[in-house]
Structures are given as C-alpha cells and as structure tokens.
Amino acid sequence: MTPASNKPDLHSIGETAFTEVLGTLLSLSATVRESANDRPVSAAPDEISSSVLLTGQRISGSVHLRLPLTFVAYAVRRLTGLDGDAGNASELQDDAAGELANMVAGRVASQLAAHAYPCKLGTPSVSRSARLATKNQKEAAHGAHPETATAGPRTVPVRSSIGGGEARECSTPPRPSDVLRAGTARAPVGVSRHALAHERTDLICEGHWLSLEIQCCYADP
C-alpha cells in the first residue's frame, strides 16, 4: 500500500517498532507476513489484546496488539525469570501484554514525532478474547472481524476491512474494533473531518502469529 502523501509511513513505522521491541526485549526475531489470509484458524488460541492511545495536536490514534496467550506466557517467563505457574498468572500476563504495547507505541510515537506529528502515550489497556473458529478463511477476510469476536460481552464491529494505507475520513479518534462498545460509535456534532490512516502488520515469531494495528487520525486533511 502506498502511504498517503506527506504523511508518515505507518506500515513501515509499525513493522520496525514491533520487530525492534521483540528483538531488544526478548531477543526474538520475527517474520513479517504480507497477507493475513493464511493466518491459521485451526489453532484458534486465546488472545490478549492490548492498546495504547496516542494523543497529539496534529494526530491522535491508537496502537493495538493482539498476542496469543501462549506467547505472552512465554514472554513473562523470559522477562521475569519466573517459571511454571507463575508465568501463567493472568495478572502478570495482562501486565506484560500492556507493557509490550506501551513499548511498541513508544517507538511509534518517536517516529511520528520525527515526522512532525508529536504525540503522548496513554496508559495501556488490556482485554482478553477467545477467538471463535471460522468456517473458512474467506469469512474472516470479508466479515466484520469474525476472528476478533469475543465469547463474552459482545463487541460491535466497526470496520468492514483491514486494508491499510488509504486515506479516509474520520470525526473521532480511531480505536480498535474490539475496544469500542455498542452505542459509542457516533460522531460528535460540529467536529471537523480529518484524514484517517489504518495499518496492520502481522508477524510470525517463535511459531506464534502476532498482530499490530495502528490507527491514526490526522488533524490536517
């Protein structure tokens, strides 16, 4: 995808940030997947989603990670040196997933600042979801994110595709689909419309499929 003119290349920024964090923190290398179509569905592992909001005068948005629980448990053990059940403690796993998102968001924010779009990081938020197995991969590609549907409280899908790079318009700061709740996706009256960019990066790391989404809303069109 070609990034919108005069705007930071979010795909490149995200890919670099994510791979650098994995490499520096966990000494892990990752392979970038150009297409999400071959994402394995059969395993359908439980996931932890972690998000960090970006807020600036010229840009606002979010950095959103989706990580398999088994990968997060591995990261916890690796970072803390705790083994066995300690690495499986849900509190620690949530904390580690949030911290990973925080670090990726920090690198993304640094790059955005270098492109004259300075922004501040919010506090990480974390949620868990059990992915529902889809009948086939095309449903996942064309549906409104069936693979992110949760078994618990229902979330409202707000995107119809996950393509990246194209400039759209938005009237509210973007959030990942599974963060929004029913009834919250309405535009405030009198807010001007801005350009929206959305990029997704999928990585394979130690056999785990990890996803990063960056959504940004630019104050300038």
């Binding site: 670090m103 920090g106 640094s110």
Partner: protein
C-alpha cells in the same frame, strides 16, 4: 554498605525484570508501583539510586521528580529515567530536572546495568 536501588514502575513485569537483573549483585532493591508510593519510600529509605518510569498512573515520573527535587534529602539522589517514548519532548524535560541518565524501553539488560554501574558500585554477590 550495600547500595539500595528504588525501582518505580507501574508494570509489575518491569519490576520483576529489574529484580531478576539485579539479583546477582550485592544490592538491595526496593519497589514502588507509582510516583506517589515511590516518593513516600524514597523519603523514608533514602535510596542510593532511583530507576523511575516516565509514564505512570496516579503520579507520573516527571511529577515525582519535581517533588523529589523540592525535598532537601532527595535533591541529589541520582535518577535513571525509563521511558517508552524516546521523543525529544520527554527527554528534554527529564534533562532539565537533572536526571543522571535515561534508558529507552525496551532496553538491553547490559545497557541498563552499565548505566547503573556508573552511578553505584555493582559487585557480584559471589565476589563479595
């Protein structure tokens, strides 16, 4: 006398990481989960070094740093700032507040140990 390090970070993962990192060395590690808690412990314990996270709930690292500098007993306590955001804005702010050094998260463990070792002696427990 065993040097004392106060680690202040809202992430338990990072606090545990630092505990693992400093375990081989003859030092005492104190912990706090935010600036408010950290300030109370720092005032009471007077640590030799504070490793302070920049972005935290309740009281962030910058606010704590400002309050520390107002306390005579903590005015000169060395601080290493941990920050996920290596943007120029945050680094300029911490430099003005007299932070001894900073480390951008994620960091390589040897990088942090090197910076800590330049401020306090890190002696292996085996050598001691």
């Amino acid at each position: 006398m065993t040097p004392r390090i106060l680690s202040i970070d809202d992430s338990k993962t990072i606090r545990l990481l630092l505990a693992r990192l400093f375990r081989p060395f003859a030092c005492e590690l104190l912990e706090a989960a935010n600036g408010e808690e950290g300030l109370a412990i720092a005032s009471r314990e007077n640590p030799d070094l504070i490793i302070l996270d920049y972005n935290m709930p309740v009281m962030d690292g910058i606010t704590m740093l400002r309050k520390m500098r107002e306390e005579p007993g903590l005015r000169r306590t060395p601080v290493i700032m941990l920050t996920a955001d290596s943007g120029l804005q945050s680094l300029a702010t911490v430099a003005r507040l007299g932070v001894r050094d900073y480390v951008t998260k994620p960091f390589r463990e040897e990088e942090l140990l090197g910076k800590v070792g330049r401020i306090i002696p890190l002696i292996s427990r085996v050598e001691q």
